[in-house]
């Protein structure tokens, strides 16, 4: 099966998704949406890793992505717990109102 899709296409899609994630982190002020944008960043990295894995015909990239997904699941659990604790304390998830490090 011949295909015109090269590594460049996948890297470009991955880079665009990463840029979108960065844009979301900077522009949005809802902590939960910022967190979702961070997940988009992680996924962009995963896509680049898998594309390189196929390009080089080495499976190690996919193993790394497996680890990243496991770490991301742990990170989401801890991050959401922190957001819930913050909401209990301050009654808001807007990062422009969460401007103090004190509890």
């Amino acid at each position: 099966m011949t295909s015109d899709i090269t590594l460049h296409h996948y890297l470009l899609v991955s880079g665009l998704l990463f840029a979108l994630g960065i844009l979301g982190v900077i522009v949005r002020r809802n902590a939960l949406v910022i967190f979702m944008a961070l997940e988009m960043n992680l996924n962009a990295a995963n896509l680049a890793l898998i594309a390189f894995s196929k390009y080089n015909q080495i499976v190690d990239g996919q193993v790394l992505v497996f680890f990243i997904i496991a770490i991301a699941a742990a990170e989401v659990a801890v991050g959401l717990a922190i957001i819930v604790a913050l909401f209990r304390r301050k009654q808001t998830v807007s990062v422009s109102e969460l401007n103090s490090m004190r509890l």
Partner: protein, 166 residues
């Protein structure tokens, strides 16, 4: 244009559109729903790259577990859709600037001709066995450390969700 190419364009364009919608939607629940769609399209791209195992994991862990966690917290916190506030102009300009710089940098790098072989169309068998085997041979220690880290995360979450943090 082969089926593979058509699917690639469909998945990537739909995925980027979902990414835009995640950022643009005012209601966080709609953002979360678009994020689920984004993860599903990403799993489609993984399938195109012959990463069958990771496509399944992506659906199970990301579109399943992680997004359920997000939606659960969204319902728990009962956040109203953020009202139409004035847009932070410096934030928008700064964010667009950073994103544009990233894309520009990437475009300049990708314009240089890499020694591209036709590897992307060669088939590459990376089934369950091929991905799992190095996990228990070469990557045994990181695998165990990940297990420990998941335990630490669980304990941390339980501690963080206690009523009084002190």
């Amino acid at each position: 244009m082969s089926v593979h190419d058509t699917l690639f364009w469909f998945f990537s364009i739909a995925m980027l559109l979902c990414g835009v919608l995640v950022i643009v939607h005012r209601n966080p629940v709609n953002s979360a729903m678009c994020l689920v769609l984004l993860f599903v399209f990403m799993a489609g791209l993984f399938l195109l790259l012959d990463a069958i195992f990771l496509a399944v994991i992506q659906i199970l862990v990301y579109a399943g577990a992680v997004m359920v966690l997000f939606l659960f917290v969204l319902m728990l916190l009962d956040i109203k859709a953020s009202e139409r506030r004035r847009i932070l102009w410096w934030g928008l300009v700064g964010g667009l600037g950073v994103a544009a710089a990233l894309v520009w940098e990437l475009a300049t790098i990708l314009r240089q001709p890499l020694p591209l072989r036709a590897a992307m169309s060669e088939s590459f068998s990376a089934g369950l066995k091929d991905v799992i085997r190095p996990l228990f041979l070469n990557y045994m220690l990181p695998f165990e450390i990940t297990a420990l880290l998941l335990l630490v995360a669980m304990v941390g979450v339980v501690l963080l969700s206690k009523k009084d943090l002190r």
